[in-house]
């Protein structure tokens, strides 16, 4: 009996934290912060899939969500910051 109530509490916590994390990720103005939050979201989402009895999906979420997209976003951010930096410098040269 108490096992069921512990699991219920676990599920409720995972669900609420997921919604909250999703909100924080979307509303973050700092892109790096949003990426790290997204990685955390992927990890927690995999836990949620496990609890929904879908280990196949959890496995896919773990590989794609927590592993690959994290690295992809971080690389994209590096490219983005390099190109905005270049634009800033060009603007400076034009203005001076």
């Amino acid at each position: 009996m108490e096992e069921i109530s512990i699991l219920l509490l676990f599920d409720v916590l995972v669900g609420l934290t997921l919604v909250w994390l999703a909100w924080q990720t979307l509303s973050s103005l700092d892109l790096f912060r949003a990426i790290v939050l997204f990685i955390a979201f992927g990890l927690l989402m995999a836990l949620a899939w496990v609890r929904l009895n879908a280990p196949d999906v959890a496995l896919a979420e773990a590989t794609i969500g927590a592993g690959l997209t994290g690295a992809l976003f971080l690389s994209a951010l590096a490219q983005l910051s390099a190109s905005t930096k270049r634009k800033d410098e060009e603007n400076k040269i034009e203005n001076s």
Partner: protein, 241 residues
């Protein structure tokens, strides 16, 4: 890194925009809630049917059975979508390789150790997909992680492999899938229907090819450009200006 902020969010949208969006979102949420609410409490899904016929499919993991046998269009089209996405990325030209110059012996060792483990684990997931959670997509993603790790260590695909060989591996999964699907059309079966006694072997074959294609495509998507095109001559992002 410089702090990059989304410019669009710096201005607060007008009250009208926010109100309209709010109402729309509320309507969407309400209709979703209604849809969930009106679901029958005891639906007769297809899971009983799947479970009954699972030994005919050639694998004992019901998810793999559904994805590779009963509803193989799903997996087939998924492979196609991945390939199309890669074409899209390649047609955009490319980003220059963002090389970071430092060499670290520990990072080097870690990557050298992890890459074979990734490949091994990818094979394990592919094999285990027949009777437990796992399968081509997950195995492909782990394989792609090995590629990502290599790219992060400034590894480059040798020129002689980046032309035909790379393209061959990329389309292998899709081509084999379609070929086998059509092959049995000539033996009086429907497209993508396999004879039950061969199904297990065929599924493993298709999944192995699909794993390779998915893994290489995802890794190529991470690289973000066609490796046979010289990146530096095309676009210079000016990191070293």
């Amino acid at each position: 890194m410089r702090k990059i902020k989304l410019k669009i969010l710096e201005k607060k949208p007008s009250l009208f925009t926010r109100l309209t969006l709010g109402i729309l979102m509320f309507l969407l949420a309400a209709s979703l809630a209604y849809a969930v609410w009106s679901l029958p409490t005891q639906a007769l899904g297809l899971s009983a049917e799947v479970a009954k016929n699972v030994e005919m499919s050639g694998v004992s993991n019901p998810v793999t059975a559904v994805l590779l046998n009963y509803r193989s269009y799903d997996t087939l089209l998924e492979l196609g979508v991945l390939l199309l996405a890669l074409f899209g990325v390649w047609s955009l030209g490319g980003v220059s390789a963002n090389k970071s110059s430092f060499v670290n012996p520990i990072l080097d060792f870690l990557s050298r150790f992890l890459v074979p483990v990734f490949i091994l684990f990818s094979g394990y997931l592919l094999w285990v997909g027949g009777f437990a959670p796992g399968g081509a997509f997950q195995a492909g993603a782990v394989l792609a992680a090995a590629g990502v790790l290599l790219f992060l260590n400034d590894w480059q695909l040798e020129r002689k492999y980046s032309g035909f060989s790379l393209r061959f591996v990329l389309v292998l999964g899709l081509v084999l899938f379609v070929a086998i699907g059509f092959g049995f059309v000539f033996l009086d079966r429907v497209f993508l229907e396999y004879p039950p006694q061969l199904a297990g072997g065929l599924i493993l074959l298709i999944e192995a090819a699909a794993t390779l294609s998915i893994g290489i495509s995802l890794a190529a998507l991470f690289l973000g450009r066609d490796p046979s095109v010289k990146s530096d001559s095309k676009i210079d992002t000016g990191v070293h200006k």
